[in-house]
Amino acid sequence: MNENATKVKTHVEARGFSVFYGSHEAVRKVDLAVPCGLVTAIIGPSGCGKSTFLRAINRMNDLIPGCHTAGDLYFDGQNVYGSDVDTAILRRRIGMVFQKPNPFPKSIYDNVAYGPRLHGRHTKAELDVIVEESLVGAALWDEVKTACTRMRWGCRVARRSGSVWRGRWPSSPRCC
């Protein structure tokens, strides 16, 4: 399989990919191709390395001291662990939903707008539209709107965490 074929057919491709926590090998030599346009699920018992593998794709494991990898992992044909990879750009392109709801201690508006702002959208009008569309899309708009009319978006997520705001702004291709 050559590089061009990979780019067209698959989003994520792992070849002999391993993740180590120190000397412990948490994910051993995974070969996996995630095709475009399909939903791919990874299933396994607790502690088998599902999350570790997912976190390896957008390099969230870099935050864990002593974590390193072996083998190759490609995202849209680009080597994720290449020396020229900007992790910030990579993570902007790979969305991630955490196991637990993970809102910032900011207003709902600012939480939803955090992603778009990173993508360079700063005008109020543009953000208003995006925030409303996202909340409507997540079927939260009515609840949030009525709950926060008096506070005009100022309502803290913290107060109604999980129930109201479970996700976050979905950044472009969603792979996991």
């Binding site: 955490f98 910032f104 201690p105």
Partner: protein, 448 residues
């Protein structure tokens, strides 16, 4: 057996803890209540007509007409006092030499007492020092002054030690022209001479002192403390915040970091007088930030003193931010710096502010570091333009100075108490602000 022992230890510990807290609370009560109560006396007191005369003469404050009317009445009431003095002086000149020799020194001290009680004598040239122009401005001091005239203090020494006895002077002057004076100074009549009235002197906080704190307020000290604490925070907060962010988010560990950390911790344990001497040796003598003592040198020294506290508080606040906030921001593609600025610092801000406010209280109350670098005992209100070159009075240092080295420590007890209470209130207010901020951070992090 084991279970009963466990119950016993639990109960014993609870009892000890309750006792410890009761002791702490009572200490706080024993310390704070007298300080605040006596300090209140500097702001609210029975002010005599001399206080109002002083306010008009030194600060040009008060109503001129009512003061003039009051002074007219007072002058009438005081006239017999001066008449008695004058008449007795003439009488003294005609007395036999032996009697004159006996009475003259006593008369002289009575005369001096009257001058210090009622202010400068009419008909004499106006003295240069305000303390000789105005009489006693406070009713408690006026009563004390009158007692000093009415009674002679006699010390008796015997095997049990020394005893003080008060002997009325009236008996000594019985039958002379001075006798009516002593009746005039009895408390009921003294009220007509001094006209005490409940006075709120709120501007004690902002007034400059007149004649080395004999009159006036503690404005220069309050401003000096304010400038020093603020200056120290302006220097310590940016440095401390940068250090804390670096320690928490960037530093990789290793021996250098361990060494730097232990340096910071050691800095926190250095006695404050050492900081003062260092400030003098380094900031003033070596790098010469100012020609001599200055607010700048003091603020620099204080900033070194509070730097470890600021760093630690900020580090703890940053470490308390849940890892999930950081991961959430990073997973969205925010850079490290962006994550710190938009997520970590806002979440840690109340905790950081708590540390800053507590450090500010510490900087305001510290004495030793500013003795050699910034403080003067008597000074004018320092101007904002002179902060880099001029020293300043400050509450902490001047409180010590007024209690130990002032020429008349006993006469300015109210100023000392007022200063102590003001300093305590400033520090308490800062700590209260810190507690409120901490409550906010707890609520915020729990909610997230």
């Amino acid at each position: 057996m084991r279970r009963s022992f466990r119950t016993f230890t639990d109960r014993a510990f609870t009892a000890c803890a309750l006792l410890a807290m009761a002791v702490m609370a009572s200490f706080l009560f024993i310390v704070l209540v007298p300080i605040l109560w006596r300090g209140l006396g500097a702001y609210v007191f029975q002010g005599t007509v001399e206080h109002r005369r002083m306010l008009m003469g030194e600060f040009n404050r008060g109503s001129e007409e009512s003061l003039a009317a009051e002074l007219k009445e007072v002058r009438q009431a005081r006239a017999p006092v001066y008449q008695a003095l004058e008449a007795f002086e003439k009488e003294l000149a005609e007395m036999p030499a032996s009697r004159r020799k006996e009475l003259r020194p006593v008369f002289q001290s009575v005369r001096d007492g009257v001058a210090s009680l009622l202010g400068s004598m009419p008909g004499e040239p106006l003295p240069a020092l305000p303390r000789r122009i105005y009489g006693k401005t406070r009713w408690d001091q006026a009563r004390h002054g009158a007692r000093l005239i009415l009674f002679e203090e006699v010390w008796e020494h015997d095997d049990d030690g020394s005893h003080r006895r008060l002997e009325p002077r009236k008996a000594l002057f019985a039958g002379t022209a001075l006798e009516p004076l002593f009746d005039l100074l009895e408390e009921k009549n003294l009220r007509r001479l001094m006209r005490p009235r409940l006075t709120l002197y709120a501007r004690f906080l902002t007034d400059v002192s007149v004649d080395a704190h004999f009159f006036g307020g503690i404005g220069p000290e309050v401003m000096g403390t304010f400038y020093l604490a603020l200056g120290a925070m302006l220097i310590a907060v940016p440095l401390g915040l940068i250090a804390a962010i670096y320690f928490q988010e960037y530093a990789k560990g290793g021996p250098t970091m361990a060494f730097l950390r232990s340096c910071v911790n050691t800095l926190a344990g250095v006695p404050s007088i050492v900081f003062g001497l260092f400030g003098l040796a380094f900031f003033i003598n070596t790098i010469k930030v100012s020609p001599g003592k200055s607010v700048l040198a003091g603020a620099l020294t204080l900033s070194l003193l509070v730097l470890p506290t600021v760093i630690r508080a900020a580090e703890e606040a940053i470490a308390a931010v849940p890892q999930s906030y950081k991961e959430g921001a990073l997973a969205l593609g925010a850079g490290k710096w962006h994550t710190i600025m938009t997520v970590i610092l806002p979440a840690a801000l109340p905790g950081i502010l708590t540390g800053i406010v507590i450090s500010m209280g510490r900087a305001a109350g510290e004495t030793a570091p500013i003795i050699f670098t910034a403080a003067v005992s008597v000074g004018k209100m320092v101007k904002a333009s002179e902060l880099f070159v001029m020293p300043t009075p400050a509450l902490s240092w001047n409180l010590y100075n007024l209690c130990t080295e002032h020429e008349a420590v006993d006469e300015i007890r109210h100023v000392q108490a007022g200063m102590a209470a003001t300093l305590v209130l400033i520090v308490l207010a800062l700590n209260l602000a810190a507690i409120l901020l901490r409550a906010r951070v707890a609520k915020r992090l729990k909610g997230g």
